[in-house]
Symmetry: C2
Subunit: 223 residues, 2 copies
Amino acid sequence: MAIAVVLLSGGLDSATTLAIARDRGYECYVLSVDYGQRNRSELIAAVEVAQSAGVCGHQVINVDLSVFGGSALTDRSIDVPTEGIKPGIPITYVPARNTIMLSLALSWAEVLESNDIFIGVNAVDYSGYPDCRAEYVVAFEKMANLAIKTTNSGNKLNIHAPLINMSKAEIIQKGVNLRVDYSVTVSCYQASESGLACGVCDSCRLRRAGFEAANVSDPTRYK
Amino acid sequence: MAIAVVLLSGGLDSATTLAIARDRGYECYVLSVDYGQRNRSELIAAVEVAQSAGVCGHQVINVDLSVFGGSALTDRSIDVPTEGIKPGIPITYVPARNTIMLSLALSWAEVLESNDIFIGVNAVDYSGYPDCRAEYVVAFEKMANLAIKTTNSGNKLNIHAPLINMSKAEIIQKGVNLRVDYSVTVSCYQASESGLACGVCDSCRLRRAGFEAANVSDPTRYK
């Protein structure tokens, strides 16, 4: 059975991605990144999601991006916007976050001799983040194949982004079919310590609209 | 004056790279990565090098790659080879290390609105590391330009690898011309806490041979 490294934030998208990787027959090693995010309950949710999915291993790695600042998700002096989704790249964007996360997953994949990394990026409801586009994922994969020794022998490393062209509703429908328990996932940018969602940040708005469009009852615990 | 982010390990190559970046007129923000490396004196050397070079800022960011293992530099149960340089990729290779370091530099560069990242990789005396080749650096640069928001407005982010085609002797000659104080740099893979070099690991051998070939007196403090 092939091994995959799956990035898991504890949110809806990555939980669905993990279910897809398992459904495709991969033995999953799950990686969560504690990058100093404001929403600490996300990491607790990641542990719960990994446990309920039955993974082969779960690592939480620390890399404190708050030393760089520049994002409402890592700098507590910047408020999370709650006025509704606006055009352009929002202040919740964390510079180079997906590149850092994929790089860490790449390191673990090489040690595990895995050729497959899964990430739950999504270009449809992506809030304008540049590192959620298909062309970015393709470029990362190309770079990764030059970066590591295990691909020197002719293997190809694959970055799987199975959600990239799906709407939030389609993601939820897929996850429901794969029996993902969304009640344990936390998407809110500023959830309480116990995982209660604010309901008004961009991530909450996208998530709530997704459940409505999917015609699935929303299990999110709101404040 | 343009701003650059410079990766600085505390070794000879990155100290020279910092001097080159300053010589080219950049205001330098220096980033060191504590990835759980065996050689802790390297990070102390990085602080000294940054201070003596007169940089605008220095961050040491922690990301504990020892949780993944797979390298003699992060896993203390694997011995550092001391028998001489052999063909192939050595056990001192840290999976995806340069990709992780460049990703962190990319994050800071975006926050600082810098379009220039310097890294001291070298393809000549590179000990067989795949992520020290020119084609890798080009692929990272291409990916980086798709990853971040500051390049969306038409700016181009550049990854500078000024040492990539230089021999160790040429690097040392360049550094001497730029008045780099190599006595504070530490290259040894298993230096003592006070920075004394073993003299027999691959990195010590490359460094010693470089000083000899450059006809420069070797300031390294050996055990």
